[in-house]
């Protein structure tokens, strides 16, 4: 198994750093999948994550000037590594004014992702910074749990409001109850509701717009005013929103009534999918 890649462009480096910071906020431990064309950050829906799952995908050629990898075997040309997301994020943050950044898979007593940074400094000599991030290589038999999740057929698909606004509202609602109801319809209306014995709080977002739906029949049959709702743990939604430091290029929310809510975001050229299951 081999992996080496190099970033030389400052904008690409900053973007990659932002992506890794976002992943660090979304998942403490995650899987990095390296394949010839793509890099994926994966969180699978195990009990440990509370049923939440995440799939983040980026095209390697948008970031790396050089990229070479050799997977486990020719038929299974991929590498799956488990790591603490915070470690990668912190290492990348030290590369603020780097001339070049190299990442490679190494084995120094144990498998590591080694990040080497050549920093520009005021004087003529450059500084070399190296971080060895310990990783665990995931064996092939576990790969089936880490595949791209199938996007469920949703009852309603709607564009999200400005995430920062949504986050500050959800933060305040968290103080009232952990049980949040998200509902939306095909008329561009989204509601966030908290209901307790003493008080009910609802925030209404209007005129959000709905993306063109995949299956025409389903949307024609459905009453545009009818709300599809899902009951979720508010903390999971808050964790998702906390990871979004920048407003995404595109943000869609798909609701499968009483089953799952699926967020599909695009940050420039990086796609992020986040699934929060309903309370069982």
């Amino acid at each position: 198994m081999k992996f080496r890649a190099k970033i030389v462009d400052a904008a690409c480096l900053n973007h990659f750093t932002r992506v890794s910071a976002m992943i660090a906020k979304l998942a403490k431990t995650c899987t990095l999948r390296i394949s010839p064309q793509k890099l994926n950050f994966i969180l699978s829906d195990k009990v440990a994550s509370g049923g939440v799952s995440m799939w983040c995908e980026l095209e390697q050629e948008n970031f790396f000037r050089e990229f070479q990898m050799e997977g486990v075997s020719a038929e299974n040309n991929a590498i799956y590594l488990e790591l603490m997301s915070e470690n990668l994020s912190r290492a990348l943050k030290t590369a603020q004014n780097a001339r070049a950044l190299k990442i490679k898979l190494t084995n120094k007593h144990f498998p590591c992702l080694t990040v080497s940074i050549e920093l520009l400094s005021v004087s003529s000599s450059s500084r070399i910074v190296t971080h060895d991030i310990p990783v665990k290589v995931i064996p092939r038999k576990l790969w089936k749990d880490l595949q791209e999740p199938t996007v469920p057929v949703s009852d309603v698909s709607i564009y999200l409001p400005v995430l920062k606004t949504m986050k500050s509202i959800v933060e305040k609602m968290k103080n009232i109850s952990n049980h949040l109801i998200i509902e939306a319809n095909l008329s561009g209306e989204l509601n966030l509701k908290i209901e307790t014995e003493l008080v009910c709080v609802t925030t209404h977002f209007k005129d959000l717009g709905n993306p063109p739906s995949a299956s025409e029949d389903a949307s024609r049959d459905r009453d545009p005013e009818q709300m599809a709702e899902v009951h979720i743990d508010i903390r999971k939604l808050l964790q998702f929103l906390a990871g979004q430091q920048v407003n995404p290029t595109k943000a869609v929310c798909n609701i499968v009534s009483n089953k799952i809510v699926h967020f599909d975001l695009l940050h420039e050229d990086v796609s992020l999918q986040y699934f929060i299951p309903a309370f069982s």
Binding site: R90, S121, S124, R127, V129, H131
Partner: protein
């Protein structure tokens, strides 16, 4: 005995010094002398010592005097032996930025009769805040360390060091500084054997031209406590002065110092002693100094006149390069209030490790029988005040802490005393 005053911006620097010293210990000595006001602090494991000396010109006014106690036969001249708890004094110098803005004048005065230090802030709008802090009578400890005799000296701008320090997480306990005439490397060091740790290993290479002064006499790698380095760094950012690092071989203490016209700060840190017979093993802190301390305690209780005649059994502590020994705290035969387990995680590991290293041949004769350490920090402090201070000049690498008795003692040596 002490009376001084400073302006709002000087209070900020003063407060930063206290904050930096708080990283070393929970206690602070206020030690005024004709050289200025020194703030001193030693950690409980005796592996780190900090001293910030504010010269009289730092203050708006500075007055100091010794008190003379007259007994039947003689009179003893004693300094202000003032030890303050960090818990009492740190909150007073909290929010330094707002202190700098609001405080017009700050007065600090004491008198040993009352065992109280009074800190008064004269703030804007006619507000006056007075803090009375009780102190414990305790003679300050000093360290004599010949930093100019070190073979390696680096002087660096705090900004560069800050950029290096950012690489490491706050949970990082120790860092290693590795130098050759061509490069300097700061890297994380781990006390766990390789393979068991889950933490990131980081290192940064800095070229010689980033240093204001670069003199490497001997290639070396020294490991020391990260927390104390950070403490010194935050203080240096307040003074905008470059930091000098003086060091030698592993085991010998290192000094971090800042020297400008108004103040002189020195942090002397123990470094991990390298044990050639054991390539990698967990270290323990050297607490054999407990034994040594008995000498110190005796000598500090003597008055300055007899101080010089105090026991000179052990020429002090010593940079042990000998094979490690295990520490059995119960075996020390001293009945001074023994130092409690300083609570450092490093300490706890001592008792779990099995030492395969043979008995050492140590220079001092006071080792408890049958004790053995593993790799340890050598403690550079605390030994008896020898009867002839001139001895020390011949052994520049011996480090001693002497109780700062009176001006007499201080005028006698030309070795740098902090």
């Amino acid at each position: 005995m002490l009376k001084c005053g400073m302006s709002g911006s000087q209070v900020k620097v003063f407060g930063k010094a206290i904050q930096a010293l708080s990283r070393i210990s929970d206690e602070l000595w206020l030690d005024p002398s004709e050289k200025g006001l020194a703030l001193r602090s030693v950690n409980s494991c005796r592996s780190a010592y900090g001293c910030v000396l504010f010269s009289p010109v730092f203050f708006q006014h500075y007055q100091w005097s010794t008190s003379v106690k007259v007994n039947e036969n003689d009179s003893t001249i004693s300094n202000l032996n003032c030890k303050l708890g960090m818990k009492s004094i740190l909150p007073i110098f909290r929010c330094l930025n707002s202190l700098e803005r609001n405080v017009e004048k700050c007065k600090i005065f004491t008198s040993s009769d009352l065992c109280k230090v009074v800190i008064q802030f004269f703030c804007r709008h006619g507000i006056r805040r007075t803090h009375n802090v009780c102190f414990q009578e305790s003679q300050p400890l000093q360290v004599i360390f010949e930093k100019n005799m070190c073979s390696n000296t680096l002087i660096i701008q705090p900004r560069v060091l800050a950029e290096a320090v950012v690489l490491f997480t706050s949970s990082q306990e120790e860092v290693t500084l590795a130098v050759t005439p061509l490069s300097v490397c700061l890297k994380s060091s781990s006390d766990e054997p390789m393979g068991l740790t889950n933490s990131v290993y980081s290192e940064m290479f800095v070229g010689p031209d980033e240093f204001d002064f670069f003199q490497i006499g001997v290639d070396t790698e020294i490991t020391f406590c990260f927390k104390e380095l950070k403490g010194m760094l935050t203080f240096s950012e307040a003074t905008h002065a470059p930091i000098a690092i003086h060091f030698d071989f592993p085991g010998k203490p290192m000094a971090l110092s800042i020297d400008d016209m108004l103040l002189e700060a020195n942090f002397i840190l123990a470094t991990l002693a390298d044990e050639p017979s054991r390539a990698s093993s967990p270290q323990s802190l050297c607490l054999s100094q407990k034994q040594k301390r008995s000498n110190l305690m005796c000598s500090t209780n003597n008055s300055s006149k007899t101080g010089k005649n105090a026991t000179s059994k052990a020429p002090g502590c010593i940079l042990r390069k000998a094979a490690p020994k295990r520490l059995y705290p119960n075996e020390t035969q001293i009945d001074i209030p023994a130092l409690e387990n300083c609570g450092s995680p490093i300490m706890k590991r001592v008792n779990e490790d099995i030492s395969e290293v043979p008995e050492s041949s140590v220079s001092d004769t006071e080792a408890a029988p049958g004790s053995s350490y593993l790799r340890k920090f050598s403690c550079m402090f605390f030994g008896a005040v020898s009867s002839d201070q001139r001895q020390h000049f011949n052994h520049p690498f011996d480090s001693l802490a002497t109780a700062s008795d009176s001006e007499e003692d201080m005028n006698n040596g030309s070795s740098s005393t902090f």
